[in-house]
């Protein structure tokens, strides 16, 4: 017997489900685009992107060099199936409006409509912080509140940063993820557009999380944003990236590069709630370096996309640096979440932890793939890796591929992983307290991921729980 509250909640959840298509699955007319590169990738396309953006020569050379790396490397044959991506059938650059708007009133109406449906103004009201919203390939709306500017914090889209803070950008550009790191990072390096640039001066603590919303809106259009975060000594910043994409009929590619430099004693947290529509290939390279006594945290939630391959990594380069990766993956029908994390201890007395929670349902496949390495000389380092997976039906699949490499005896490293289904006795217990089986299952799943959701800002935690409950609808048979 369902409680009235549960019924109401169920109706509310069903309501969320019902207008998903209307809310997120729309297309804006494409006629208003200022510039759209032809499909396919070539030297000419890369040069025209660079020319269009009026970039300095070094960036143009960087792009062209990266293109060579991309062309000379084979498509990865591990992880998920990338065989269906036709790199020639993608627009590598689309620009939605000619100018970046700092003021809300200058944002074009149809773009505003999109943001309204995404609820961005609401989020802005809540956070009163900078909102960088990526619509198409470029950030068109950007607002940094006065307090941030007064603190000397730079929070802008990457194209603007390249124009206005070229020296700073150039100093750190591709120092964490070189263009030849992997095929997809090379692709991003060649055709990148948009993304965020964050610079936090020494000693500055940014109180509110910095948020950016990302969207892909043109059929067959890739999104290749590039984010660089520099946290100077003793600073503190939390960056949040959340994505919602419209539903499309053909496959779409998202391939971002995110680089983070955490200087001594700084603290950087990067949170992602990824909910791409289920035709998107989400192939992202994220890496951070943490210097002495710095703390780097990745909170990575993967709910959407057709295939995600993403392994946020942390190089602990300075003594007593600390790294943490919290990861949630939910793979439903037709989805493969190949996620995880890498931590490399390269200095003494460094510590780290990885907590991964994955859920597979309706034939979905979730994979944890990780690396934990303690390099020679990283004495007295400690690490703990815990991976838990829930399988909700017999058609689904869960894989765990952790790799642990230890080159130092003075290290203490542990790894544990468990794969199971929801326990009958857990369901029975909750049923005996009046919940029906579906409610009990939702509760158990939300409890299962709670160690990660409790690290999210409340709005995101609520949204995540709802999204997962949505995915759980009708799952119990």
């Amino acid at each position: 017997m369902a409680t009235p509250e549960a019924v109401a909640e169920k109706r509310e959840l069903a309501g969320i489900n019902a207008d998903y298509k209307e809310k997120f699955g729309f297309h804006d007319p494409e006629s208003g685009y200022a510039y759209k590169a032809p499909k396919g990738l070539s030297r000419e396309v890369v040069e025209s992107i660079s020319e269009y953006k009026d970039e300095p020569q070094w960036m143009r050379d960087f792009r062209l060099k990266a293109l060579e790396h991309f062309e000379s490397r084979p498509t990865p044959n591990w992880g998920g199936n990338l065989g269906q991506i036709d790199f020639e059938d993608i627009h590598y650059f689309v620009r939605a409006s000619d100018k970046n708007s700092r003021d809300w009133s200058e944002v074009p109406d149809d773009i505003k409509n999109t943001f309204d449906r995404l609820g961005i103004p609401e989020a802005e009201r809540k956070f009163l912080s900078g909102v960088g919203a990526q619509y198409e390939s470029e950030v068109v709306y950007h607002q940094v509140n006065e307090k941030l500017e007064a603190q000397g914090v730079i929070f802008t889209d990457m194209d603007t940063a390249l124009r206005e803070h070229e020296d700073l950008v150039r100093q750190y550009w591709a120092t964490v993820i070189p263009p030849n790191d992997n095929k997809l990072a090379a692709l991003n390096s060649a055709v990148w557009s948009g993304g965020s640039f964050v610079y936090v001066p020494a000693g500055v603590k940014v109180e509110m999380p910095l948020q950016a919303y990302f969207r892909i809106n043109t059929e067959n259009m890739g999104q290749f944003e590039r984010t660089l975060i520099i946290a100077e000594e003793g600073s503190d910043v939390h960056y949040i990236e959340g994505c919602t994409a419209p539903v499309y009929s053909t496959d779409s590619l998202h391939s971002a590069v995110v680089e983070i430099v955490a200087k001594p004693s700084s603290r950087v947290r990067y949170t992602t709630v990824q909910n791409w529509s289920q035709n998107v290939y989400n192939l992202v390279t994220k890496r951070a370096v943490a210097e002495e006594k710095a703390t780097m945290e990745w909170v990575d939630c993967n709910l959407g996309s057709k295939l995600t391959m993403k392994y946020p990594s942390i190089y602990l380069l300075g003594p007593e640096a600390h790294g943490e990766i919290l990861s949630i993956a939910f793979a439903g029908e037709g989805q493969h979440q190949d996620a995880g994390g890498k931590i490399i201890h390269a200095a003494p007395r460094t510590s780290s932890s990885i907590f991964s929670k994955s859920i597979s349902k309706d034939g979905g496949r979730s994979t944890y793939r990780g690396l934990l390495e303690v390099a020679d000389g990283a004495s007295e380092s400690r690490s703990k890796v815990v991976c838990d997976a829930l399988l909700l039906d017999e058609d689904s699949r869960s894989d765990t591929y952790p790799t642990i490499r230890i080159g130092e005896n003075d290290a203490d490293v542990g790894h544990e992983a468990t794969v199971s289904k929801i326990g009958d006795e857990q369901i029975f217990y909750l049923q005996s307290h009046g919940l029906d089986e579906e409610e009990a299952s939702k509760m158990i799943v939300n409890g299962f991921i709670e160690p990660v959701t409790k690290e999210l800002p409340m709005e995101y935690a609520v949204e995540l729980n709802r999204l997962i409950e949505l995915q759980m609808e009708g799952s119990i048979g």
């Binding site: 020679d376 699949r397 869960s398 894989d399 642990i404 203490d412 468990t418």
Partner: protein, 369 residues
Amino acid sequence: MAELATLPPLPDEKAKGWEFTDLSELDLDAYEPAPADASLGAAEGATVLSLAEAVDSHPALVADRLGALAPSDDPFVARNEAAWRDGVLVHVPAGVKVAEPIRIELPLDTEGAAVAWRTLVVLEEGAEAEVWEHSSSTGDETDALLNSVVELHVGQAATLRYVSTQDISERAWIFSSQRARVEHDGRLDWTALGFGSGRGKVRMDTRLAGPGSEARVTGGYAGGPGQHLDFDTTQVHSAPNTFSDLSFRGVLAAGATAVWRGMIRVDPGAQGTDAFQESRNLLLSPDAHADAIPGLEIEADDVRCTHAAAIAQVDREQLFYLTSRGLDPAAAKQLIIEGFLEALVERLAEGPVREEISAALERRLREIL
């Protein structure tokens, strides 16, 4: 047997599964094929024969089982298939319980020898037996190569205890592919010790093929200077209500490296699987290196699959405690290491196996400490 010309090439460091074991210094042509001077042992109730002889005397049995488990696409299995002359067949008929252990001794003492060895164990329905296989060299100076393929067929409701101890020369190469298949309600209790060899790879694969089958796999290794020990284990559950429990523990002294790769695979439909694997390494020196790559691939939902891996040094608090009780640091350290390995010994049923394994571990510890 495959023709030499068609053998698959040796894996390079990019080949899957070979990333951590460098074969660039392996020159197969430098080793001369040599006979294995093995002693096969005997026990009442079991047929124990040279495998070459068994090919003639038990043609049907051998034809059905030989090569049925070992994958010939593995480059070393393929070479073994092409080259083996010596081996053993252990056959226990249905319902026969063999009381005495069957002991097989395989020496590797000829400089430059390449020994291709083959073990085939077949337990028919309800049979019980214990097979010990020990490969060893008299010293650690012999440069030789051992390529062995072991196939263990555990029939319905049969029980096999298989103990494989390896203490060959620390300059020798070892390539060993060991596979077991356990049928309906069968039980396998498998213990492996790896002390010798310079480099190579030992694969230990268990397939729980019949409903209700069980396997326990216990592995211990201890490496000294210049040794690279490589274990690759797989537990495949392809039938419902199957159980597997694998535990590996290794102690690595200065200059030793080890890699353990383990996979639990649960096939669709293998509901009610209970699988566990753990790998624990104790590093005794900053110059020791260990890699652990546990893995899970699960395609059924009513399962309980867990793995754990840990790599650590001798615990300083334990050391402090013991020295505060008057032990000198060396003795305290030895006690802690013995305690670490004792957890492996405790997995074994009481009796001669347990005592011999325990003694072998103690001897080996004295060598590397």
